[in-house]
């Protein structure tokens, strides 16, 4: 009998977050939604040559937080390792079919296996789709078909088995309202700023109010694109995904940027900082005007004033809190906003498990 966990899978454009409930403790992981073809053997050989010696395919060569997945005869670098070690890393940004792609399954397997110690396990999963695509029953079926089943794989050299059961597919943003909303029957909303999309979700209690739920293709990766384009215009080379990611993380954590070089010249930090601030201001204004247009119900310009509680979540919450707060004084930003949807999904999965058990 395998251990069975309630699990929330939030497969974002930029980040994948997984949360599982394990005897009163939530275990959570966030990793870049990036994968690339790559072999553990080659990585071991390279690292062996650079410093220490590792045996042929030894997973000891991997650092903490690095993942190599073998599934269906393919070997892949996943997460940070894909961003760092491969020029061809892809997150399939903006591609709507990614929600039912093998990549979503790969990220689900790696994320769940990295927070579950048992080699064989079952996860009962709730996941989400963007507001704009959720209405398609066909899409929800495809997501279920892509993820569900018995999956044998090898993670970092260890054989694993994951039995995946999809309990429910709901709207992105709804998870956050389950995680941090009010238990009262009030009107409550969520602004979920992800890598590539911003989703607005409003519910009466937990029941969605569809005409107030909307999505737009703008998010943190839009800032990364702008940054890379401006860098290319000025210095004649684009920024790599790993570079933009590091710059944005350093900016939001108020750390010094890692030096960037072009043709042997180091770019002054002040120039990069100015570009980051300009790009954030430009995209922040775009996101804020989208929210204003969708939720503005008053001639005074107040936004969401008739929504009792508004939660700002997603990785974008770290970057766009200020322009959002300026328009919505009653905005609530939870700790670790990037995990909010996955926490709500896991809580819903646990409730659905109980319901299934009570019926059986």
């Amino acid at each position: 009998m395998h251990p069975i966990y309630a699990y929330g899978h939030d497969f974002g454009n930029a980040e994948t977050c997984g949360v599982l409930f394990d005897r009163g403790i939530q275990r959570a992981i966030a990793m870049p939604s990036a994968t690339s073809l790559g072999r553990l053997y080659d990585l071991v050989q390279m690292r062996s040559a650079l410093s220490e010696s590792y045996a042929g395919n030894s997973p000891e060569a991997l650092k903490r937080g690095e993942y190599v997945l073998e599934y269906n005869g393919n070997e892949l670098f996943v997460g940070n390792l894909a961003l760092k070690q491969s020029r061809t890393a892809t997150t399939a940004l903006g591609d709507i079919s990614r929600y039912y792609s093998p990549r979503s399954l790969h990220l689900l397997l790696v994320a769940s296996a990295s927070i579950i110690s048992q080699p064989e396990y079952q996860i009962d999963v709730v996941t989400g789709l963007p507001v704009e695509t959720f209405a398609s029953a066909e899409m929800r079926k495809k997501v279920k078909a892509a993820l569900e089943g018995e999956h044998r794989f090898v993670l970092n050299g260890v054989r694993r088995l994951a039995i995946v059961r999809i309990m429910k597919v709901i709207m992105e943003g709804a998870g956050a309202v389950i995680a941090y909303g009010s238990a009262e029957d009030i009107t409550q909303g969520c602004i979920d700023i992800g890598g590539r999309t911003t989703d607005l979700f409003v519910a009466e209690g937990q029941s969605p109010i569809l005409h107030l739920c909307k999505g737009k293709e703008v998010g943190v990766e839009t800032v990364a694109d702008l940054l890379s384009n401006r860098f290319q215009a000025r210095y004649q080379r684009p920024l790599k995904p790993g570079e933009t990611r590091e710059i944005l993380h350093a900016h939001v954590n108020r750390r010094t940027y890692r030096p960037l070089s072009v043709n042997g010249r180091t770019i002054p930090e002040g120039e990069i900082r100015q570009s980051v601030e300009n790009a954030l201001a430009s995209v922040g204004s775009d996101v804020a005007s989208f929210v204003s247009t969708t939720w503005n119900t008053s001639e005074t310009g107040a936004v969401g004033s008739d929504i009792g509680m508004i939660i700002l979540v997603g990785g974008g919450a770290y970057y766009f809190a200020d322009p959002m707060r300026a328009r919505i004084p009653h905005l609530v930003i939870p700790q670790q906003p990037e995990l909010a949807n996955a926490i709500g999904y896991a809580a819903l999965a646990e409730q659905l498990q109980q319901r299934v058990r009570s019926i059986a």
């Binding site: 949360v19 009163g24 403790i25 939530q26 275990r27 959570a28 992981i29 966030a30 990793m31 650092k63 903490r64 937080g65 940070n80 990295s114 927070i115 110690s117 048992q118 929800r140 279920k144 999809i166 309990m167 429910k168 597919v169 709901i170 709804a174 309202v177 389950i178 995680a179 941090y180 909303g181 009010s182 238990a183 519910a203 209690g205 937990q206 029941s207 969605p208 939870p334 700790q335 670790q336 995990l339 926490i343 709500g344 809580a347 819903l348 646990e350 409730q351 659905l352 319901r355 299934v356």
Partner: protein
């Protein structure tokens, strides 16, 4: 060392040899150099301190990212979360198979 039954309680406990708990305990003992019986007492004390620090009704998140594993402060009260999730079951319907 002689047992002081006026001062201490003594137990005989069994752990399955193949269990994850036993493997982790053994590794912990080797790493810290503390004997397994002593370590059992230390870890149980840790657990009760930990539970008291987060409150019986709170949820602790352990987030794994990059090279660190850090317990975060409690995110949301479990009873509230269950109540909202229960309302969500009603709002979103049963499982995908229903």
């Amino acid at each position: 060392m002689a047992r002081d039954r006026q001062k201490n309680a003594y137990f005989t406990v069994g752990l399955p040899l193949q269990s994850e708990t036993y493997r982790a305990l053994k590794a912990d003992s080797e790493e810290t150099g503390v004997s397994i019986p002593q370590l059992l007492a230390v870890r149980i004390a840790d657990w009760y301190k930990f539970r008291a620090s987060i409150g019986p009704d709170s949820i602790q998140t352990i987030k794994l990212a990059g090279n660190t594993e850090q317990p975060e402060s409690p995110l949301t009260r479990k009873s509230d979360l269950q109540s909202r999730a229960s309302a969500a079951v009603a709002a979103w319907g049963g499982s995908e198979d229903d």
